[in-house]
């Protein structure tokens, strides 16, 4: 089988044609990859050049989208960033026709060579270690041959020749911990399910990635769905399940499409479905679309929603491995966990243990977003420090701003200040610091971020997403949110900060599932590490970061304002900016919605727009009477 796939892929690459590889996952598409592709196609046709265009998933450099890699025979493969259709046209003409690779547009060469600096020399590529994401952005996710030719499904074929216990043992020995957030040992979960006596068992791939700010599960499914399916098949074989469900959020239409097509292909190649590879093992895989409820990421709630009910968490025990979907033993694993399995079986437990730390072997995948220079998807070995991830891999904080905090683990996680930058990233160190690994969302915040506002944001989210089953979670989070809203509006009362703390602890104790138990984390960590910021809001009615809109105001510094420049007037969405008698500008505070557009619009040589907190500090400039407007 592998030879057949290899032959197909090799036949295509041997033709010595230039190949243009375009990243076409959701983020690439959002940045305009489709137009870029069209640009390439049109120009190639116009100029009569023969070249292949290959769509791949996410290459991981989200800051540089649309990303294109050009393989031109005689040159190393070169990575180009922000390739607009115009640049696409130039690349075809200069590089493919005239052999000038256009240094100004490139990020670097993909391989070490004598001509062009290689991306491997950049800190990002040095620090990264791609184990799970290895093939993402390299192979065409729409073609099973591409995956098989790179060794895909070999682990499954080999496992089918041995015993299921062998697979469980290998995963246990590798020390893999569930990448969904909690870090439960995967091998132990599988062993429990394998030992359960039951006529039917199910395995579920949890791709209900509801965390705002996290998107690696989506990216893996869009870029390399077969690796996940192989992991799913291995899991099913190991525990003796004949049915598998891939639970994907309906908000990820491309991921749904990619994985559905991948299942069809795998069934056709007899890698899933009836009698897999002639071994007599069956596995029926279906896709279930989640409908947008954050709490359904919790396994018992997820099962409820597949069964056609409200996704409310249930008491555990019994755990799903004893009594899950339709009352049968069920193993639920995250996308990243499953995608790690084929790699572990290929390389062996011993090899896997050489990556990462003793208690958290393997790699961690983070989507690093927010105020960093190079946001994107990063895979690093466990144990790398936060500092190294944020400053080396992701390029640090843009615009010479200062680092303030990093929020890890989404609404269930916490904010860590600069003192924690040297914390190694692994399950245990992070929870010790008060954050958690969570699903791997990481939001970096600079000095312009208000921690009270961030806590309010997360509480708003968890409060809306609470299923309502537990009183503490339902009403308690509402109370917390009310208090935070009062604080951000400068209407805080005496004792509010103590109340926040007390109520948070009660909610942690009185909730059934992790949503409620972790909902107060953003408040507790920010209270602990940024208490003075809360105090400024409460006692001085001032927002130090100048974010909370009720506590800040914009004004125009008349000494800096240029006569006759109208940039701010045009940018204001509510016409709050007017021209004073001497043709300078003023802001009508009663109309201003504090969107900050004028600050962006004001030419940097003037930078006349200023921000103050509390708002009373803004000088009042009268709008002149009618005469001036005429």
């Amino acid at each position: 089988m592998r030879e057949k796939a290899e032959a197909q892929i090799a036949a295509e690459s041997e033709t010595a044609l230039p190949t243009i590889v375009i990243g076409m996952a959701t983020c690439g598409l959002a940045a305009g990859a489709l137009e870029t592709k069209k640009g390439f196609e049109e120009t190639l046709q116009e100029r009569g050049i023969e070249a292949r265009i290959k769509s791949v998933g996410c290459i991981g450099h989200c800051y540089a989208e649309p990303v294109v890699i050009v393989h031109n025979p005689g040159f190393p493969p070169i990575l180009y960033h922000q390739v607009t259709p115009g640049k696409a046209r130039m690349l075809v003409r200069s590089f493919l026709e005239d052999g000038d690779p256009l240094f100004e547009y490139m990020l670097g060469a993909m391989e070490a060579n004598d001509m062009i600096p290689a991306v491997g020399d950049f800190p990002r590529f040095n620090r990264e270690e791609r184990v799970v994401l290895d093939l993402c952005g390299d192979i065409d996710p729409e073609r099973i041959e591409a995956y098989i030719a790179r060794g895909g499904y070999a682990a499954l074929a080999k496992a089918l020749q041995g015993q299921p216990q062998g697979v469980v043992a290998e995963v246990s020995d590798a020390g893999l911990r569930g990448r969904g957030g909690a870090g439960f040992p995967t091998g132990r979960k599988w062993a429990l399910a394998a030992g359960a006596e039951s006529a039917g068992k199910t395995v579920i791939c949890n791709a209900d990635e509801g965390d705002p700010g996290a998107y690696m599960d989506r990216t893996i499914l869009e870029s390399n769905p077969h690796q996940v399916l192989e992991g799913l098949a291995l899991c099913a074989y190991a525990v003796g399940a004949k049915e598998a469900v891939v639970y994907v959020r309906a908000e990820y239409p491309l991921a749904v499409k990619t994985v559905t097509r991948a299942i069809e292909q795998a069934v056709r190649w007899r890698l899933l479905g009836k009698d897999i590879l002639g071994s007599g093992v069956d596995l029926d895989v279906s896709v279930f679309q989640g409908s947008g409820a954050f709490v359904c990421g919790e396994e018992t709630a997820l099962i409820q929603s597949i069964e056609g009910r409200r996704g409310m968490p249930q008491h555990r025990p019994p755990y799903p491995v004893e009594k899950g979907l339709w009352g049968l033993p069920t193993v639920i694993n995250n996308v990243k966990t499953l995608a790690s399995i084929p790699r572990i079986l290929q390389g062996g437990a011993e090899w896997y243990r050489t990556i990462g730390t003793g208690k958290s072997p393997g790699t961690a995948i983070f989507s690093v977003v927010g105020n960093v220079t190079h946001p994107g998807l990063v895979e690093i070995p466990m144990g790398v420090t936060l500092r190294s991830l944020i400053f080396e891999v992701c390029g640090g904080i843009p615009k010479k701003k200062r680092f303030k905090a990093v929020q890890i683990g989404g609404p269930s996680g916490g904010c860590l200040p600069a003192e924690f930058l040297d914390t190694p990233i692994d399950f245990d160190s992070l929870s010790q610091a008060g954050a958690m690994m969570g699903s791997g969302g990481m939001v970096v915040m600079d000095e312009d971020t208000c921690m009270v506002d961030v806590a309010r944001y997360f509480l708003d989210f968890t409060q809306k997403e609470s299923c309502g089953k537990c009183t503490f979670c339902r009403i308690g989070t509402r109370h917390l949110l009310d208090i935070l809203e009062r604080i951000t509006k400068g209407e805080a009362r005496e004792g509010d900060l103590d109340l926040l703390d007390e109520l948070s602890r009660d909610i942690q104790g009185g909730s059934l599932c992790a949503l409620g138990r972790t909902a107060p984390n953003p408040i507790l960590t920010s209270l602990r590490y940024f208490r003075e910021e809360y105090e400024a809001h409460v006692y001085e009615k001032r927002c130090p970061a100048m974010v909370c809109r009720a506590l800040t105001a914009f004004y125009i510094d008349l000494d800096k304002c240029a006569r006759g420049c109208d940039a701010c007037v045009g940018s204001c969405p509510v016409e709050a900016i007017f021209t004073t008698l001497n043709r300078k500008k003023g802001i009508d505070q009663s109309l201003c919605v504090k969107c900050g557009e004028c600050m962006v619009a004001c030419p940097p040589e003037y930078s006349a727009v200023c921000k103050v907190s509390p708002p009373e500090k803004a000088p009042i400039i009268e709008r002149p009477a009618k005469a001036a407007e005429g």
């Binding site: 959701t26 056609g308 977003v369 969107c595």
Partner: protein, 182 residues
């Protein structure tokens, strides 16, 4: 206005009845059925809920209870152009709520509403997973990254201009035809 909605709903009922028969009466079909209906008709009408409940032998309350639990389902007709503003963490840190407000102000409707001419509707969504491009807004299926308040104005203006142009051409055509018949 009311007529068009009535006609739409009649059509929806017919369509749903025709494909419901293809599903067995098991409860596990509930969410996939609601998703299919919403995909085909953009929202779930009262009749749609009733039909699904009847088919699966559940009470309409039960079906409505499940449907309202999930963020995906909507119960009123959306606009022809659906605007979704992402309010994920990265978008929040970069000012997503200001973008939402600006759309609301420009179109004169609030989050979850549809303009009277059914041209636009606005929704907030939790996270579309394009965090590196924050703040993000979706207009129909197109993802717009790095949205700024001024970009919002451009987008809305673009739609208005396109509409006015179509209107002018329609009128021109109509007048041309009239002249032809004279």
């Amino acid at each position: 206005m009311a007529d068009t909605i009535e006609a739409e709903e009649r059509e929806m009922v017919e369509d749903i009845t025709s494909f419901l028969a293809g599903y067995s009466k098991e409860r596990r079909h509930l969410i996939p059925l609601l998703q299919t209906i919403q995909q085909r008709h953009k929202y779930l009408s009262e009749d749609a809920i009733r039909l699904v409940a009847g088919h699966l032998e559940l009470s309409p309350c039960e079906v409505y209870g499940v449907a309202t639990f999930y963020n995906q389902f909507r119960f009123n007709p959306p606009g022809r152009n659906q605007i979704k503003v992402c309010l994920g963490t990265a978008c929040h840190v970069k000012g997503g709520d200001i973008i939402l407000e600006n759309f609301e102000r420009k179109l004169g409707i609030k989050d979850g509403e549809t303009t009277l001419d059914r041209e636009f509707s606005i929704e907030r969504v939790a996270c579309v997973g394009c965090c590196a491009l924050a703040p993000v807004a979706l207009v129909n299926e197109t993802v717009h990254g790095h949205v700024a308040p001024s970009k919002v104005e451009g987008l809305v203006l673009g739609f208005q201009l396109a509409k006015e142009k179509a209107e002018r051409e329609r009128r021109k055509e109509a007048s041309g035809e009239r002249q032809g018949t004279d």
